[in-house]
Symmetry: C2
Subunit: 217 residues, 2 copies
């Protein structure tokens, strides 16, 4: 490692992020603090706060890199499938695998609470929306009549569900509740949801019970 | 509060659980330790370990009481609906409301990791299975041909999904990802899942793409 002042701001930033990523991957968010990062890269906490606004900013950058890695991993599934339903199952499986292989990084993305009043910057939101596009694309292929807003909401409802099954698997809860396997559950969820989407979108609006979203759209 | 030795084992146990519940509700699991509970009820940590095996046992008891409360709250929805699909939507809504009103207690049920090798006792599992019966019952009314094992798995897949949407709502993630509202998402998930269940169960097995669970059953 170089001496102090040997590095540009950009280099210090990169070194800090790499160290922070490793800490998060190993110990999760609770293991992360500015002093530990500064000490690991041989700079002072003050130097760290020249290149990052605050710890909140640094964690957001770490999470952004996790989102990028998640995107790289799960976007590869596009080449492994032809039918949109098979593509959505492959996406779910890849999402689960990422969560299982990088549990701490994955959980930090979802569990980190920004300091009060801190806005989520638009560049960060774009990374999330880019991920959802991977779900929306096969959804639209599966159901070409979905208008864009409903397609976006349909993708978010499905992925909220996939996410729930992943987190229950990750925390060992599926076994406790007597579920067969995480793959089975995920397949049940995605397959039934898709089959229903076709059914619900194809049936006329029934005002009773208020169970079809078409009635409310 | 009475003096030491004024209480029976059963009373000490009950006092400790009430205090522990309050701490969990306010501060979550990280606020809980044996010394704090003992001090609050005016007994020593040693006395606490006469009535509980260890802290792990105590936390399991606290979670069991949360599961009982959850059962009491969500089982009331049965009286508010007639059609099984409306009943499942009402269950989802009640589950969400419990999570929103008691976020720390709800999260502690799902996030607490027992010490390694600690088995989940059967009386605790029974409480979980009793909750799932509330989902299985309307599912079976909706789809009377579901055989018991598939019904159980179908309930767990759906509730894993509902759980995921709840946790994303609770941690403020739905807004970040551009979802309309938690109610909309939950309705999309449950409605499409149910409509698909009817569709998938009603169609013959197609070995291609492996997307129907019937082929694998």
């Amino acid at each position: 490692m170089g001496r102090r002042n040997d590095h540009s701001r950009q280099e210090i930033r990169e070194m800090a992020l790499q160290v922070a990523e490793k800490i998060v991957a190993k110990e999760g968010l609770q293991g992360l603090n500015a002093r530990k990062i500064a000490s690991a890269i041989g700079y002072s906490v003050g130097s760290l706060y020249i290149v990052f606004e605050n710890l909140d900013d640094l964690i957001l950058q770490v999470n952004a890199r996790s989102l990028d890695q998640l995107y790289t991993v799960i976007s590869k599934t596009e080449q492994q499938c032809r039918q949109p339903d098979a593509c959505l199952l492959a996406l779910g499986q890849a999402y689960l695998e990422f969560a299982m292989e990088q549990p701490q990084r994955w959980r930090t993305v979802f569990e980190y609470q920004r300091t009060k009043d801190a806005e989520i910057p638009s560049w960060y939101r774009k990374k999330i929306f880019r991920l959802f596009k991977l779900v929306e694309k096969p959804l639209l292929e599966f159901m070409p009549t979905l208008e864009p807003h409903l397609c976006a909401q349909t993708a978010r409802a499905l992925w909220g569900g996939v996410h729930g099954i992943c987190i229950l698997a990750l925390t060992g809860r599926l076994e406790i509740v007597g579920a067969d396997s995480v793959q089975n559950l995920m397949e049940l969820l995605i397959t039934n949801y898709l089959a229903g989407l076709k059914n619900v979108q194809g049936t006329p609006c029934t005002p009773e019970e208020g169970t079809t979203q078409e009635c409310k759209a």
